[in-house]
Symmetry: C2
Subunit: 707 residues, 2 copies
């Protein structure tokens, strides 16, 4: 029933695995008996990516103690410290980088985001508060405003003279921004906007800088002029006077303590008929003249809204990058500890190193592979972002692709990071729970990443809708022949699937030959085929089920979509995972060092086969994998990939290039190894000196033997 | 390919699902068109279980503000508050309950644990610090000591005159207690024990009460006398003088800030040849006379060790119960918010209530089912514990069963709770991240439950080993006939599986009939068969693979086990899940109220089918489910169970019987509903008064229509 016997590890790399004679291996790359070696420096350079210099400069800064979180700080001290850190960042001048030359920047969008992501190593609160100030508040002025706005407000925003809030979310509306309740009504009598909060649910909420430090805000409100609501637009609204008191008509409260990120002063704001000049409308995508006449370069209100929101995509880019950095850190801590810590006798007087346990490998190595996938996928994402924002390739289609990429990758990676950090914490046991080892604080801070800057479940529905749109576009263009071909495929698929014919044929071919059946799913082309096929099939199935929606009245159409909402989200996830896998695979192709290519290919295989294993039921039910092949995947992971990767685990985290000042976890400093060595030496010395007590068990055994 | 069309919801209970004509339903229980109604009071009473009075009394106490966590407290204030809370508990007198009558108790083990579990509602730190004082420190004196020890130390332990540490874990040894480095060497010259810490890894670590409050400790150390090490025993060691200063030879340090539970003063201790009288050995299971001669009522050192540790099983019982209470709380908060909060237009001018979204149901309702399963399983567990500790059924076999139950349920439920609380937090979005809504703090506190009192991954291996032992015992007793029968079954199984015959037969029978194929897996007997069969098959497969271990030298045997370690743990999980399912199913049989039985049967089905869905690949690969049946399970969950349960979600959490003072989450107080109502009224009034602005989109549509 099982194929374990015939697929034992071929290398003597797993300390606990008995060495078996190497069997024929259809691997494309030759390996020596000792296994490949890694060029850590080259791998490190590859991981740093195109903006390596920006990353390294930011990391250098993050070695400074002034940027480090003090774990024992309460909320108030923590907030002050983070504000101080932002001022230090201003002094260094780096925060201007993404802004135009006239404001001291150099239009370096990719480099700005890359360096910004690394701030998470100092303190995620500092990263997010910086994101509020420069990524959201200042960027909204830049991207939604026009030249007069830039001149008036950008310099103070950039140098933190004006800490600002990004007042979009309301207590009543988070994901559905288009439905915010705050209104901005044009009063032609005074040529002013009246910003107003009509009810409690329309209070702005969760805004960084709102509770304490914010002097101004970019407020998103329904623009109403001449009796018409033109949808959500952004307005520049001063909040506090020089002494920090709210200006007339403005009120608010502190969101108080949170589950993490307590270095940020999140708060609520409300407006009672607050008046600002007409020109405080950030008017790049919509303007109102002194007669109250509204004009916009984008006719469709829907497209206009999404264009405005689209300029803020960098928030999602940087979250994706920051959680990837944090995941690297967590993996570094857990794997270092796992390669030093020993527990339970291994049957030979020595206690076993944690990472030599199969379960420990199963817990950490797939997550290391996931971290690499996130890193390579982020690089692709950042390239795309830079290309669009630099204007190199900035078409509507590019923007649309970028949005989809952002929605897919941000949601997957923020969840992945929580999973990775939590497993790292548990893998370090009680040590993992101490603040001194950082994992719990990191997880607490990153928790909210899954639901802010777009709730992950909502973002994935955007991805699914895009997949469905692409699918129907393909059909709109298709001629009758293509359509017929597709339908035939579908029918064929259904027939094959229902009768189980395809799988049965595979089973017969595979029977008794594990090596060959594993071989099939192991190579790059097969992994791609399986992963791609799943996404395409899921999209096609969904499209079939949702086809009637366009003909239904809206409530019924919504109900139809809702009945498939879970499948929609699972489809989007499958798509995002394929993007991560493709990025990993693409990265393999650029590796020149043979050892690096070999080890990273195994790691990519672990990632790819892990995805397939996770959805194994789908592959079997849909006739994509025979039972036999399906079973072989798990065996291949356990018996081949994990033992092969185990010896490289530490080096694979060394390639993340963290300095001790970045890691700052007691258990990742070699202390555990020193303790283990001391204990071992102590017992050895006892034995040598003949002072070791006899174990009662041995005494009993000896007695029994004498009887 | 899909069966969705033919299995649409039969009830009009899902607000977003279009009503379809009810189809024939082979449900055993008649339901009206409006669906069953719940008797919440009766359900609440059932959930409270046998020790309802103890639970209710403890809950009544937990309504008092003095027992509530103050979220903004830093570590120092929090520690002092929790110590004060323990003193309040002493004043109330409840903490003595599990102790003998002569010490003011009434030997009520089940009631003591039940009331103790509810403390988690006030503050998990208080629950765990109480657990350290009475569940570990005082219990060790009671269970490992004898009458003179009880008289000398129990009264002060019980009334908190002597806060005590339970000094078992060391920095170097957590899960492997038998390998602790601390020694207690008998010195016959002075008739004393010399307690000594030979190296850094042997420092006692993570001990509650060690950093600040502990005046004494029960120290676990290797008992050495006359040159023989008799293994780990417990010793009573005074720690601090009246002023709180360490006694001579004792040192230590504070573990400092942790990821949660910061109301407990965890710390480290080390001993430099500290001397205590010979009679400070807690000598129930092993004693030394004034000549240094060791005696024990249990000859086998191994069995002796496990007997001593077994007396401390109540820690695992109470963790299982406490995380169940916490899960109920998290579900209550998330489901209340989910039934009030609205987001995104549903196509009919109204925004949709979150829990009407399929995905939201998929996220919360299976976790509600999981919570119920944990609750019923815990009740079985607590009954067993009480039966053993009261002496009613206290054989070796009973103790062994209790240990296995504890290992299986504690590990599953502590992980389940983290998953439940996290999903609850994410389902509440930004609100879920605020300390005011409690979910993040609850999760942070419970994080360590997964790795203390036995690391979950280690505990599950104990379960697996027990399963394998039972399996081999069954064979040892089996005569040749039974053996042959079994072998035939195995062969048959293998043949059927490899050839796919059984599955193929099923496929043919099912073909085209979703209703019947779902019917098969829906009833109780089929769920039991599928779940049980999986456990049994996994055990049998493992036993086959590990059969040769007994003949191998120890290192090779260890290596063989290690190659199947992941499978071992997955097998134990499957067993634990079956236990939860059986407990849930048993609970159904006692329900008299028809509506309760119906709704809870659906909930149990959701739990059972969820388990099968999670392991669907296994069932299909092993020929237990046809592709068609497998596919139908997901459809049945999505299209039937979720819509049926949706209207009962709120009532199912009301049955947890939490008072507002227990819930203490802003979003679970109806505030969201009030905000929604206010906003809706505002817009209705605008429309009524003709003051609502026209939407630009409507204006454009009207323009287009005119053209």
């Amino acid at each position: 029933m099982s194929t374990i016997e015939s697929s034992a590890p071929t290398e003597a790399t797993a300390p606990l695995a008995p060495s078996t004679p190497p069997e024929a291996d259809d691997s494309m790359i030759a390996t020596t008996d000792a296994g490949p070696t890694l060029d850590v420096a080259a791998l490190g350079q590859q991981l740093m990516g195109r903006w390596a210099d920006s990353r390294r400069a930011s990391r250098e800064l993050m070695r400074t103690e002034a940027f480090h979180r003090i774990p024992t700080h309460g909320m108030d001290d923590h907030r002050e410290r983070v504000l101080g850190q932002l001022k230090l960042l201003v002094e260094r001048g780096d925060v201007h980088r993404a802004f135009p030359a006239e404001f001291g920047g150099d239009d370096d969008h990719g480099g700005f985001i890359a360096s910004f992501e690394e701030l998470v190593l100092g303190d995620p609160s500092m990263q997010i508060k910086s994101g509020v100030q420069w990524g959201l508040y200042a960027s909204a002025i830049l991207h939604l405003g026009t030249a007069p706005h830039h001149q008036a407000w950008l310099p103070d925003a950039l140098d933190l003279t004006t800490p600002g809030a990004f007042a979009m979310t309301e207590t009543g509306h988070g994901s559905d921004v288009s439905a915010v309740g705050t209104t901005a009504t044009y009063d032609s009598a005074t040529d002013e906007w009246v910003i107003h909060t009509p009810f409690r649910a329309a209070w702005k909420d969760y805004l960084g800088n709102a509770a304490l430090h914010g002097k101004a805000a970019v407020v998103f409100a329904q623009l109403i002029t001449r009796g018409v609501n033109h949808g959500v637009h952004a307005f520049y609204v001063p909040l506090r006077d020089e002494k920090g008191a709210f200006l007339p008509g403005i009120g608010g409260e502190d969101d108080g303590l949170k589950g993490g990120l307590n270095g940020i002063d999140n708060g609520r704001l409300h407006f009672s008929s607050v008046r600002v000049p007409r020109t405080n409308l950030l008017n790049r995508y919509g303007d109102v003249d002194e007669n109250g006449v509204y004009t916009s370069p984008i006719e469709s209100p829907g497209r206009r809204f999404f264009t405005m929101l689209g300029t803020l995509v960098q928030g999602r880019v940087s979250l994706d990058g920051a959680v990837t950095v944090a995941s690297k850190l967590a993996m570094t801590i857990a794997i270092r500890y796992g390669t030093e810590r020993r527990q339970f006798d291994g049957g030979d007087e020595n206690e076993v190193v944690l990472l030599d346990y199969q379960r420990h490998q199963r817990r950490l190595l797939p997550r290391l592979a996931q971290t690499y996938a996130m890193s390579f996928a982020h690089e692709v994402f950042l390239e795309k972002f830079d290309a669009v924002f630099s204007g190199r390739t900035d078409t509507d289609a590019d923007r649309e692709d970028l949005e989809t990429l952002a929605a897919a990758l941000k949601s997957l990676s923020t969840w992945n990071a929580l999973d990775i950090i939590q497993e790292a914490r548990e893998a370090c046991g009680g040590q993992g729970f101490l603040a001194a080892n950082r994992l719990t604080q990191l997880r607490a801070d990153l928790d909210i990443y899954a639901t802010f800057e777009g709730d992950n479940n909502v973002l994935l529905q955007l991805v699914a809708k895009r997949l469905l749109t692409d699918y129907s576009r393909a059909f709109a263009k298709a001629d009758a022949g293509v359509m017929a071909h597709y339908v035939a495929d579908q029918v064929n698929e259904a027939v094959v699937h229902r009768s189980g014919l395809r799988r049965l044929a595979q089973s017969v071919a595979d029977f008794g030959s594990t090596a060959r059946s594993v071989g099939y799913v192991r190579d790059t082309a097969s992994q791609r085929q399986l992963l791609t096929d799943r996404v395409e099939t899921m999209v096609a199935e969904l499209a079939g089920k949702l086809r009637s929606a366009s003909k239904l009245p809206r409530p019924q159409a919504a109900a139809l979509f809702n009945r498939h909402q879970n499948a929609l989200i699972e489809t989007a996830k499958a798509h995002g995972e394929l993007l991560q896998w493709e990025a990993f695979t693409e990265a393999l192709e650029t590796i020149e060092h043979e050892g690096n290519r070999q080890v990273l290919t195994w790691l990519r295989d672990l990632f790819g086969l892990g995805l397939i294993e996770k959805n194994l039921a789908w592959y079997v039910i849909h006739g994509r994998l025979s039972d036999h092949r399906a079973q072989a995947i798990t065996d291949y992971i356990d018996d081949r990939l994990l033992p092969r990767l185990r010896p490289h685990a530490r080096a694979l985290t060394d390639a993340f290039e963290f300095a001790p000042e970045h890691i700052r976890a007691d258990i990742a400093k070699g202390e555990e190894q020193a303790r283990q060595d001391e204990a071992r030496d102590y017992y050895a010395e006892l034995r040598r000196a003949g002072l070791a007590p006899i174990d009662e068990k041995d005494l009993l055994a000896a007695k029994k033997a004498r009887r």
